[in-house]
């Protein structure tokens, strides 16, 4: 944090970082929900093997993207927790200053 940052700066940054974490989590959840209903077998006749060969890599990439989104959300949540600590420190400092006055 720059020394010139104010409580308002912390609030905005905290809220925004929380929202960024939430956005990544939403992306993760929407993709992860689909994993449960992924077709594992297609009664596709002569084309069945090809259909599964087409679906497989796409599903795998989608799973990786879900994992990446989850990771991004978790990293941002760590940042939010960092903020919480910083903000609490700042709040405590301001309160002590207030009490001293």
């Amino acid at each position: 944090m720059d020394s010139g940052a104010t409580m308002g700066d912390y609030r905005i940054a905290y809220d925004t970082a929380t929202e960024i974490s939430r956005l990544h989590d939403s992306a993760h959840r929407e993709l992860a929900a689909l994993a449960e209903s992924m077709p594992t077998d297609i009664d596709g006749g002569a084309g069945a093997d090809l259909l599964l060969s087409i679906l497989g890599p796409i599903a795998e990439d989608a799973g990786s993207l879900a994992s990446i989104q989850n990771d991004a959300s978790a990293r941002m949540a760590t940042t939010v927790n960092l903020y919480r600590g910083i903000e609490e420190d700042a709040e405590e400092a301001f309160r002590k200053m207030s009490e001293a006055i």
């Binding site: 992306a27 929407e30 209903s37 297609i42 006749g45």
Partner: protein, 207 residues
């Protein structure tokens, strides 16, 4: 005695269900890309420094990976829908071949059209044959000609059935094979996952 197997395996409903799943994935990937873009835009309001640049580079790559995977899912869903239609049409063709066989006097058991029994040409009666012998010959000749027509029909249907199988096979080669080659090509998601794992924890600083 031979037979023509008209069984064309596969359930268009099952293929449609898989297409529906891909369409859901297409939408989820689109939404994920949109969420990531929103996160990227928000980050520029609160972040500066090398970590923020790393995040934004990562988020841009993530949006692109979503877009590319979304395009693959969309294209595959279209192919699946088309294949379900092709399968429906070819199965209807097979049903028509069986119906033609039945109408033409051939025996159909399940999805098999049975080869008609071989027939021998009746022998012409002698000049001095009785009317009863002539009538008997005429009836036998009629049955013989009808049997020949059934044999001709059987041969025609055998060609048609083979053509119907080939039509589906050709469609598969022209459409599903290239689609499979496309999705088997390297995608940006694998390297992206490795890069994401290597990212440091984000550190945010207001400027």
């Amino acid at each position: 005695m031979g037979s023509i197997d008209t069984l064309m395996e596969g359930s268009p409903a099952s293929v449609d269900a898989a297409a529906g799943w891909l369409e859901g994935l297409d939408r989820a990937l689109g939404a994920g890309g949109h969420h990531t873009m929103s996160a990227l835009t928000l980050s520029s309001r609160i972040w500066s420094g090398s970590a923020s640049n790393a995040y934004r580079d990562f988020a841009k790559d993530l949006v692109e990976a979503h877009d590319e995977t979304e395009a693959r899912a969309h294209s595959a869903a279209d192919r699946f829908r088309s294949y379900a239609l092709q399968l429906t049409w070819r199965q209807e063709d097979m049903a028509r071949h069986r119906s033609d066989a039945t109408s033409g006097g051939l025996t159909v058991t399940g999805t098999r059209i049975l080869e008609p029994v071989p027939v021998t040409r009746p022998t012409m009666p002698d000049e001095g044959a009785t009317q009863a012998q002539v009538d008997q010959y005429n009836s036998a000749a009629e049955r013989y000609n009808a049997a020949l027509r059934r044999i001709d029909l059987y041969r025609t249907i055998a060609v048609d059935v083979r053509g119907t199988f080939e039509r589906l096979d050709d469609w598969i080669v022209d459409n599903l094979v290239p689609e499979e080659e496309k999705v088997q090509a390297p995608s940006p998601v694998g390297p992206m996952a490795a890069a994401a794992r290597a990212l440091p924890d984000f550190v945010v600083a207001t400027s």
